[in-house]
C-alpha cells in the first residue's frame, strides 16, 4: 500500500496536536509564572527494529510524529505591581508549594495571607519556607533578595527557593504549578527574590504566531498530499483496474 498516504496522515495528526500546544501558549500569554511549551517532533520508522533495507525503503517508512513537549525555562518579563506580597524570581529558581498531592513548584509569586496568617498562593496552598509553612507577622512586610521575610524588623521566615538540574522533567500541573521527580530540587544559589514584582508568562506571541502559521500551512500541505493520494488511488481503483479485465 502507499506508505506515503499514512506518512501524510500521521504528519497531519501531529500538526493538529501541535496546534493544541500553540493555542495553550497563546491562551496563557497573561498567566503569571506560566512557562511556554515547545513542541518536539521526531521521526519513527514504521518497521522499527528490523533492518532498514534500502535508503528508499527507509525514507518512505519514516513518519513524523509529535513526540513531546518541553518547557521553556527562560525568564519572563518583570512587571511591577507594588503589592508587598507579589514576588518574582530573577534566575532559575522556583517557589515550593505544599499541596494535597505533595510539593509542587511555581514561579507565580502572587501570594496572599490566609485568614490564619499563613502565606498562601492565589489557589490557597501554603508556600513553604526553610522550616515548613510561613506564618506572617502583623505590620508591613519586607522581603529580601534571599527570600527573608520580616515585619518591623522581626523575622517571620525565609522562603524556600529551589532549582533543578538542566534536563529535569518538570510536569505541568495547572495553576502555574509544576511537579518534579523526587529528590531533584536543590536549594537555588543563583536566584534572587524581587518584592512588588510579578513575572509575566514567558510566552513569545511573535514566535507563537509564526508557529501557528507554520503548523497551519504544514497541515495544508499534508492535506494536499492526502488529496493527491486519494485521487491517485481512486483513479487506479475505479478507472484503471476495471480496464484490465
Amino acid at each position: 500500500m502507499d506508505s506515503g498516504y499514512y506518512a501524510a496522515a500521521t504528519a497531519l495528526a501531529s500538526r493538529t496536536q501541535a496546534l493544541d500546544t500553540i493555542a495553550n501558549n497563546l491562551a496563557n500569554a497573561s498567566t503569571v509564572g506560566y512557562l511556554a511549551q515547545h513542541n518536539v517532533f521526531s521521526s519513527v520508522l514504521a518497521a522499527a527494529g528490523s533492518p532498514s533495507g534500502s535508503p528508499v525503503n527507509q525514507a518512505i517508512n519514516n513518519y513524523g510524529i509529535l513526540s513531546g513537549t518541553t518547557l521553556d525555562m527562560s525568564q519572563g518579563a518583570m512587571q511591577k505591581t507594588g503589592n508587598d506580597l507579589d514576588l518574582a524570581i530573577q534566575g532559575p529558581g522556583f517557589f515550593v508549594v505544599q499541596t494535597a498531592n505533595g510539593p509542587v513548584y511555581t514561579r507565580n509569586g502572587s501570594f496572599q495571607v490566609s485568614g490564619k496568617g499563613q502565606l498562601i498562593t492565589s489557589a490557597g496552598d501554603p508556600v513553604m519556607g526553610d522550616s515548613g509553612a510561613i506564618t506572617m507577622l502583623p505590620g508591613p512586610v519586607s522581603i529580601g533578595p534571599d527570600g527573608t521575610i520580616s515585619s518591623n524588623g522581626a523575622l517571620a521566615g525565609k522562603l524556600k527557593v529551589v532549582q533543578f538540574p538542566a534536563g529535569t522533567d518538570l510536569t505541568s500541573a495547572g495553576e502555574s504549578y509544576y511537579a518534579a521527580p523526587p529528590h531533584t530540587a536543590k536549594d537555588s544559589t543563583d536566584s534572587s527574590v524581587q518584592q512588588g514584582m510579578l513575572e509575566s508568562s514567558n510566552v513569545n506571541p511573535v514566535a507563537g504566531m509564526v508557529e501557528l502559521v507554520t503548523a497551519q500551512r504544514s497541515a495544508e500541505m499534508m492535506q494536499h498530499a492526502l488529496s493527491m493520494f486519494n485521487a491517485e488511488i481512486d483513479k487506479t481503483a475505479s478507472q484503471d483496474l476495471p480496464k484490465v479485465s
Binding site: 495553550n24 497573561s30 496572599q112 492565589s122
Partner: protein
C-alpha cells in the same frame, strides 16, 4: 475534535473578563478611596499523552513528556493594596489613611463595613457620617457649636468650643486591618466586607507599629488606579484576544481542509 478551538475560546473568555476589570478600574479612576483590582489567570489541566520519564523501552525513558494544556481561566481578582495619592482638600472632615488601615462604618444592615474613602460629614445629631449617611464607628459626635475640629495623626479628634481656649477631646478614630486585605469582598460605594479569606478585622489606634497607618486631616486618598498601567493592560488584553481568535480561525481552516480531503 481539536482542543485548540476550546483552548483558544478559554483565552478569549479570560481576556473579556480582563477587559471588564480594566474598564471598572478606569471608570473609578476618580473615585476617592477606590482600590483597583487585577485579574489573575491560571492554566487549566493538562492532558498527559506521554508522562515525562516514562519508559520508552526496558532500558530507556522518554526524555520529555507530551503534555497538552487545555487553556486558561481567570483565577481571581485581587485588590491592589498600594497607597493612592493624597490630595489636599482643605475640608477639616476629609481624612486620608496613610497606611494599610480601613475606617469602620455602620451599615444600614447593622453590619460593620470597611472603607478607605474618608470624606465625612456630620448628620443632624452631630455624628460623623459618610456621604451615604453611614455612621463612623466608634461614633464620634462633633458639638454643633464647635468652632474648630482637629484630628491628630493618631486619630484623636478634638474640638474647640466658643469661649474656650483649650481644645477638648471628643473621641478617637480607630482603624481596622485584615490578615489578607486582598480577600475582602467589594460591595460597592467604596465599602468592603470581611470574608473567611480576608480574616477578621484587627482594630487598633492609628499611628502604631502594626501597619494601620496614620490619619491625615484635610486630605483625601485618590484611587490607586495607575492609568498608564491600565492602558498597557488594555492593549495587551486586546492583542491577546486577537491572537486567540486567530487560533480559532486556523483550527477552523484546518478542519475545513480536512473535510475537503475526504470529498
Amino acid at each position: 475534535m481539536f482542543h485548540a478551538l476550546y483552548t483558544a475560546a478559554s483565552g478569549m473568555t479570560a481576556q473579556q473578563i480582563n477587559l471588564d476589570n480594566i474598564a471598572n478600574n478606569l471608570a473609578n479612576a476618580s473615585t476617592s478611596g477606590f482600590q483597583s483590582r487585577r485579574v489573575q489567570f491560571s492554566d487549566l489541566l493538562y492532558q498527559s499523552e506521554v508522562m515525562p520519564g516514562s519508559a520508552a523501552t526496558q532500558q530507556t525513558t522518554y526524555s520529555s513528556g507530551l503534555q497538552v494544556g487545555l487553556g486558561t481561566r481567570p483565577g481571581n481578582t485581587e485588590i491592589i493594596q498600594t497607597q493612592g495619592d493624597l490630595s489636599s482638600t482643605g475640608n477639616p472632615l476629609d481624612f486620608a489613611i496613610e497606611g494599610m488601615g480601613f475606617f469602620q462604618i455602620l451599615l444600614p444592615s447593622n453590619q460593620i463595613g470597611y472603607t478607605r474613602a474618608g470624606s465625612f460629614q456630620t448628620n443632624a445629631q452631630g455624628n460623623l457620617v459618610t456621604a451615604n449617611g453611614n455612621t463612623l464607628q466608634p461614633a464620634i459626635t462633633i458639638p454643633a457649636n464647635a468652632t474648630n475640629v482637629t484630628v491628630g495623626s493618631d486619630g484623636t479628634v478634638s474640638v474647640t468650643l466658643p469661649g474656650q481656649t483649650n481644645a477638648s477631646q471628643v473621641g478617637v478614630i480607630q482603624l481596622a486591618t485584615f490578615a489578607n486585605p486582598g480577600g475582602l469582598n467589594s460591595v460597592g460605594n467604596n465599602i468592603y466586607l470581611p470574608t473567611t479569606a480576608s480574616g477578621d478585622a484587627v482594630v487598633g489606634t492609628p499611628g502604631g507599629a502594626d501597619g494601620l497607618g496614620t490619619i491625615q486631616q484635610g486630605m483625601l486618598e485618590q484611587a490607586n488606579v495607575n492609568i498608564v498601567d491600565e492602558f498597557v493592560n488594555m492593549i495587551l488584553a486586546q492583542r491577546s484576544y486577537e491572537s486567540n481568535s486567530r487560533v480559532v480561525k486556523a483550527a477552523d481552516e484546518m478542519l475545513q481542509g480536512l473535510n475537503q480531503v475526504a470529498q
